[in-house]
Structures are given as structure tokens and as C-alpha cells.
């Protein structure tokens, strides 16, 4: 195997890891955001949910930016075409991300009730849209985009096809469960119990959606081809299913932290399941496979990939180290009763 090919494969794996970590970390922020209107009954409870994600959401979102940046640096052709082909969907995603960020930053800056209500609503709606759009985008990547020699033959409505939508719903369901467990772990008192109860109910919905998604994946995509060709890969989806089941078992046994760990693993494994099925495509073409974007026809040069590998090997562990420190620093539970309203956010 040539050096270039090895680097291309390394970057495909890193690309998958960046997305998986992003979904795992921002997933609970998005889930908490979507659930906030149903979960929090009083101002202090709303404040508690916002505080639970406050110190970490910003750092979590950077995984998305890094996933985008890594796509640009390692697979520039994919980056170029993906962002122009999925133009409207990704613009909506971008605006939702902007609104989500400012809704957290702005809500606590003015005391008026109406002001807070505006930004809480914005937080919930934008969180939902981000989860949905990410799912729709990945669903469409899994099934392939209509592209050939003359370019792209689709628009926003083509993206909103049944498989794209079911993928969107899957992401919403995954993040809802994930966020509910996170809120349950990070808060105390009534709101924590309510959150864990919601997580249990949402889990049932998630399993139903997951079954439909898997069946539809068999029909609409070629993701399973790789698993037929290399059955040992099936350990990834099996781990995903096991983690999903463990979530419920831990919830039943009131082991919220373990349920959260299971939910983290589930999200990572679901992502890997999709991406392993995609290999070596980055985005397949649904009409002419000669025009599929693969890691081989859309990557950077050997020199650039080498430089990026060195940078990633040195600095990603450093990032992970200080992120762990910050998570430990802000690990205590937030009790709505003790909040004074003077906190940041």
C-alpha cells in the first residue's frame, strides 16, 4: 500500500472520528435544547438546563468546525462540492448554529421575562433544526447525491426525500435521548427525575425509528455492501445496538451516568456504522458511480496529508486532555433551588 493511500485511509478514519465526537458532544447540548420547553417548568429550572451546557457547548461546537476544516484540508474536492451541492440545507444549518450560539449567550443578559422567553424559544427551535438538518445531510450522503459529468441535479426538496427525512428523525431521536440523560445527570431534584423519565420514553421512540432507519438503509443505500464483503465489520453495528439496549437497562436500574456513557458509545457507533458502510466513498453518486467522491479522487496531496497528520497527532491529544480537565471542573450537579439568577447565561 502506497504512502498516499495509507494517509487517505488515516484521514477517512479521522474524518469519521471528528464527526462522531462532534455528534456525541454537541448531541447532548442539542438534545437539552430541544427538550428545554418540555423539561423545565420554572425560570430556575430553565436556568439550570442552560447552565448545565453553558461551560461546554462552545468547545463542543468546535468539533464541527474542525470536522469541516479537516474535510477542507484533507479532502478539498469533497469539501468544495459538498458545500455547494447541499447549499440551502447547509445555509439553514449555519443560521441555526448561529442562532443557537447567541440564544445561549444572550438569554441572561437582560432580566426581562419576555427577553428570556425569546431566546429560550430560539434555543429549542434552533437545536431541533440543527439535529434534523445534520441527519438529513448525512442521510443524503449515505444514499448518494444525483451528480454526474454535468454536476449536481438536485435541490433542497431532493434532499428532503423519505430516507433523508428518516435520517433526520433518527438524529433528533438520538440526541433527544442523549440530551435527556445528560440533563438527568447534570441536574438534581424534580427536573432530574423528569428528564430521566423522558429519556426512557424517548428511548422507545428511538428504537422504533432505528428499526425503520435500518430497514430503509437496506433499501435506499449501498451501506450494507461493505458489511457483506467484510463481515467482521459487523462488530460496529452490533456494538451500536448493544449500546442502545444498554441505555434502557441502565435507565431502568437508575444508573444515569452509565446510561449516559452507553448513549455516548451508541452515538459514536451509529456514526461509525454509517461511515464504515460509505468507505471508500465520501459522497457516492446516485446516478453515475464514476462521479462518486471517494477518498482517492478527492484528497489532498501527500505532503499536505502528512503535515495534517503530524498536527493532528500532536495537538488532538492536547485538546482532549484540557477538555477532560474542564468537564471534571464542571462536573457537579446543578440544583435549580440554589440558583440565584446572577449566573452567567
Amino acid at each position: 500500500m502506497g504512502m498516499l493511500k495509507a494517509l487517505q485511509i488515516i484521514w477517512f478514519v479521522l474524518w469519521a472520528v471528528l464527526w462522531a465526537v462532534y455528534f456525541m458532544l454537541d448531541g447532548f447540548v442539542l438534545g437539552t435544547g430541544m427538550l428545554q420547553p418540555f423539561l423545565a417548568k420554572t425560570e430556575n429550572e430553565r436556568l439550570a438546563t442552560v447552565q448545565s451546557v453553558g461551560p461546554v457547548w462552545n468547545g463542543n461546537e468546535v468539533w464541527l468546525i474542525t470536522a469541516g476544516g479537516a474535510t477542507f484540508a484533507a479532502f478539498p474536492t469533497t469539501y468544495a462540492l459538498m458545500f455547494s451541492y447541499l447549499y440551502t440545507a447547509l445555509l439553514l444549518l449555519l443560521f441555526s448554529l448561529i442562532i443557537r450560539g447567541v440564544s445561549l449567550e444572550f438569554r441572561g443578559k437582560v432580566a426581562a421575562h419576555g427577553w428570556k422567553k425569546i431566546w429560550d424559544t430560539a434555543f429549542a427551535v434552533s437545536s431541533f433544526l440543527i439535529a434534523l438538518l445534520l441527519g438529513v445531510a448525512f442521510g443524503n450522503i449515505f444514499e448518494g447525491l444525483p451528480m454526474d459529468a454535468s454536476g449536481y441535479h438536485g435541490n433542497l426538496l431532493t434532499l428532503l426525500n423519505p430516507y433523508g427525512l428518516i435520517s433526520g428523525v433518527l438524529f433528533v431521536a438520538l440526541f433527544t435521548v442523549h440530551g435527556a440523560i445528560y440533563a438527568g445527570v447534570k441536574t438534581s431534584g424534580e427536573i432530574s427525575a423528569r428528564a430521566l423519565n423522558m429519556a426512557g420514553k424517548a428511548w422507545l421512540l428511538l428504537m422504533a425509528v432505528a428499526v425503520v432507519f435500518l430497514a430503509h438503509t437496506a433499501l435506499a443505500t449501498h451501506l450494507f455492501d461493505n458489511y457483506v464483503a467484510a463481515p467482521q465489520l459487523s462488530v460496529i453495528p452490533l456494538a451500536a445496538v448493544a449500546a442502545l439496549v444498554l441505555i434502557k437497562l441502565f435507565l431502568i436500574r437508575h444508573q444515569a451516568l452509565k446510561a449516559f456513557a452507553a448513549s455516548c458509545i451508541a452515538i459514536v457507533m451509529v456514526t461509525f456504522t454509517g461511515v464504515a458502510g460509505l468507505f471508500p466513498n465520501m459522497i457516492p453518486s446516485s446516478i453515475d458511480t464514476a462521479y462518486s467522491m471517494t477518498i482517492y479522487n478527492s484528497s489532498s496531496s501527500r505532503l499536505t496529508l502528512t503535515i495534517m497528520t503530524v498536527v493532528a497527532l500532536i495537538f488532538v491529544p492536547v485538546v482532549i486532555a484540557y477538555k477532560i480537565w474542564v468537564y471534571r471542573l464542571f462536573s457537579e450537579k446543578i440544583s435549580p433551588e440554589t440558583l440565584s439568577g446572577k449566573e452567567a447565561y
Binding site: G69, Y79, S84, F95
Partner: protein
């Protein structure tokens, strides 16, 4: 999104600094801002102070990688054009040949210092402006005198660096971007010992300046090449289709330099008045400083206009034209819609932001709540 052909063509070089920025700087910034905002009373004062120091360091580091990327668009070093064979998605692109050249690009480094220190000037004017407002209202006079003094000194120092790096920047432009230099100075004829006229009205249609008054001999050559007799290439020797829009570039540059010098002058007066402790007795000057908060915002926009419009018609100077860099799969209507959407969203957020900044600036110093 709008620049698919650009990303395909230069992604091999341009993507790396952006990805490195995200990994090195953006993570640091976003994680430690959380420690700063939520860390009151949770971490020791020392760690808390370090967290905001790290954020500041990381934003500066961000600026470096972004401006090295932009510097490469201005002066594409360390790259070679390569034909891509047997790939249906791409036929030709620029590939990195020397990473050290991209990272060591003098254009990028000068741009970095020039831009960074203009940012410092902006911050200084913001603080002096807010302090001046409070001094006018006689709020917390001691506190705001100290804020004013510190920011004024900082602004003066940073302003001098901006002027100095601006000079280096001009020399670098003369070296690598003759068409930008010619447009900045509205020089039409190639000439040795080019002068600089204080009042100029360029006339692109007729390839001349309709007004040129108060000419100082040899000054353009001196400023651009540090040699009074150096040859300056005129716009007429650059094909029409390769010239930047002269009017916008010229006026933005002139106004940037004039307002920049005005700001250094204001900083100088500010330091002087502050040192002599005459701030409170000088309401006119304080009002001037409040109004001057807007100045650096205008100037940095002008500077960026010079940098980007002056590079036209190139998106990567000499390598790729802006018109060849756009996405082929996107309609004009889509671009127009997204442009309007961005404008509306940013305008609304800008209004909220200015409102909040003003609200908190007027509130004055608040001792942070330690125990939550």
C-alpha cells in the same frame, strides 16, 4: 459554499491553515472562555486569570493562521500548479510544495501584525470611549481615569505599530502586487521617482487622474520602495482586465491612512491630557473620544476593502481569477438569497449586540459575584 472551484483549486494549500487554526487555536479559545465565564469561585484566582489569558492568546493565534491563509491568497508561495490525470472531478489544481514557505510567507506575517495591532487600537478606542463617557457623567472617576490612561497608552503604542507595519505592508505590496500598488496610489503611467499628490481624483474611464494637486515629488516611490527614484508600474501597463477597481481601492486606502493617522494623533492627545490629569476638566475632548469609538470600526473595514478589492480580479493573486472561483452548481438567485439572509441576520444580531454592549458599558464596574 459559493466558492467551490476555489476550494477545489487551492484546497491543498488553503485548507491546512484553516484546519490547523481550528485545532490549535479555536479549541483553546472555546474551551477556556467557558472556564472564564463559569469559573468564578470554582477555580483559584490565578487559574481564572490564566483562563482569560489563554483565550486572548488563542484569538491572536487564530488571527495568525487566518491571515497566513489570506496572505497566501495575496502572495501564493510554496505552491505549484499540477495537472490531475484520470480524475473525473478535477483536472488541474495548485498543490503545496513547501509548507515552510506558506507558514513563513512575509506577506502573511506583515498582514498579521498590521491587522492584529489594528484590532488592539480598536479595543483601546472602545475602552477610552467608554471611560470618557463615564468621566463625562462623573461616575467612578478614579477607576475610569485609570482605564482611560491605560487604554490610551496601549492605543498609542498599538497605533504606532499599525503605522509602521502599514509602511512595511506597502513595500511588500509594491514587491509582489504591482497592480494593487498602482491602484492604491492611482498611478497611471509607469515612472521613476513617482510623486504623491495630496488631492487626487482618479478617472478610470479615461485612464488618468482628473485632479492632481499638491504633489510631493518622489514620495510614492520613497514610501513604496524606500527609494525615491524607484520605478512604479503604472496602471496603463497592466491590461485593463487585470486591473482592480481603481476608485474603491484608491479612496478606501486614502481614507484608511488619513483616519489611521487621525487616530494616532487622538491617542497622542489622549495620553497627554491623561498624564496631565486634565480629562475631567475637558468635556469637549471626552465627547470626541466617545464619538471616536466608531473610528477604528470604519478604518478596519476600509483596510479590508483595500486588501480584498485591491487584489481583484484575482482571488489568488496571479493564479486564479475570482470569476473562475465561484461554484458552478449555484444559481445567482441562491447567492442573492443567501446574501440577503446573511445581511438581515447579522444586522439584527448587530443591533442586539450594540444594545447589549451599550447597556453593559453604561453599567460601569461591577464586582463579580464570587459565591454562586
Amino acid at each position: 459554499m459559493n466558492w467551490a472551484e476555489y476550494s477545489k483549486y487551492v484546497g491543498d494549500i488553503f485548507g491546512a491553515p484553516l484546519a490547523i487554526e481550528a485545532t490549535l487555536a479555536f479549541f483553546l479559545e472555546s474551551v477556556f472562555i467557558g472556564v472564564w465565564v463559569f469559573g468564578w469561585g470554582k477555580v483559584s484566582d490565578r487559574v481564572h486569570a490564566w483562563s482569560i489569558t489563554i483565550v486572548a492568546f488563542a484569538t491572536n493565534l487564530s488571527a495568525l493562521w487566518i491571515l497566513l491563509a489570506n496572505g497566501w491568497m495575496q502572495n501564493p508561495v510554496g505552491a505549484a500548479l499540477v495537472d490531475v490525470v484520470g480524475n473525473p472531478l478535477i483536472t488541474r489544481r495548485a498543490e503545496m510544495t513547501e509548507f515552510a514557505a506558506v507558514v513563513g510567507n512575509p506577506y502573511g506575517w506583515i498582514k498579521f501584525f498590521h491587522t492584529l495591532f489594528s484590532g488592539y487600537v480598536l479595543a483601546a478606542f472602545f475602552v477610552t470611549g467608554v471611560a470618557a463617557w463615564h468621566l463625562l457623567k462623573k461616575n467612578e472617576i478614579d477607576f475610569f481615569k485609570r482605564s482611560f490612561n491605560l487604554a490610551a497608552l496601549f492605543g498609542l503604542g498599538a497605533g504606532i505599530v499599525v503605522l509602521a507595519t502599514g509602511d512595511f505592508h506597502g513595500v511588500e505590496i509594491a514587491k509582489v502586487q504591482p497592480s494593487k500598488l498602482a491602484a492604491l496610489e492611482a498611478v497611471w503611467e509607469t515612472q521613476r521617482g513617482a510623486g504623491l499628490s495630496l488631492i487626487v481624483v482618479p478617472d478610470s474611464a479615461n485612464e488618468r487622474n482628473s485632479i492632481e494637486l499638491l504633489t510631493i515629488p518622489k514620495l510614492t516611490s520613497l514610501l513604496s520602495y524606500h527609494d525615491p527614484n524607484a520605478e512604479v508600474k503604472g496602471l496603463k501597463d497592466i491590461p485593463r482586465e487585470l486591473r482592480p477597481p481603481v476608485g474603491i481601492t484608491f479612496y478606501s486606502f486614502r481614507l484608511m491612512v488619513m483616519l489611521g493617522m487621525l487616530m494616532v494623533l487622538l491617542s497622542l492627545i489622549a495620553v497627554w491630557v491623561s498624564k496631565r490629569d486634565r480629562l475631567v476638566s475637558n468635556p469637549f475632548f471626552l465627547k470626541t473620544m466617545v464619538a471616536s469609538i466608531a473610528l477604528p470600526y470604519i478604518v478596519v473595514q476600509l483596510g479590508w476593502t483595500v486588501a480584498e478589492v485591491g487584489r481583484q480580479p484575482w482571488i489568488v493573486y496571479g493564479l486564479l481569477k475570482t470569476s473562475d472561483a465561484v461554484s458552478r452548481s449555484i444559481s445567482t438567485a441562491q447567492v442573492a438569497t443567501s446574501f440577503v439572509a446573511f445581511t438581515v441576520v447579522y444586522a439584527l444580531l448587530g443591533i442586539v449586540d450594540v444594545y447589549l454592549l451599550a447597556k453593559y458599558a453604561k453599567q460601569g464596574p461591577v464586582v463579580p459575584v464570587k459565591e454562586v
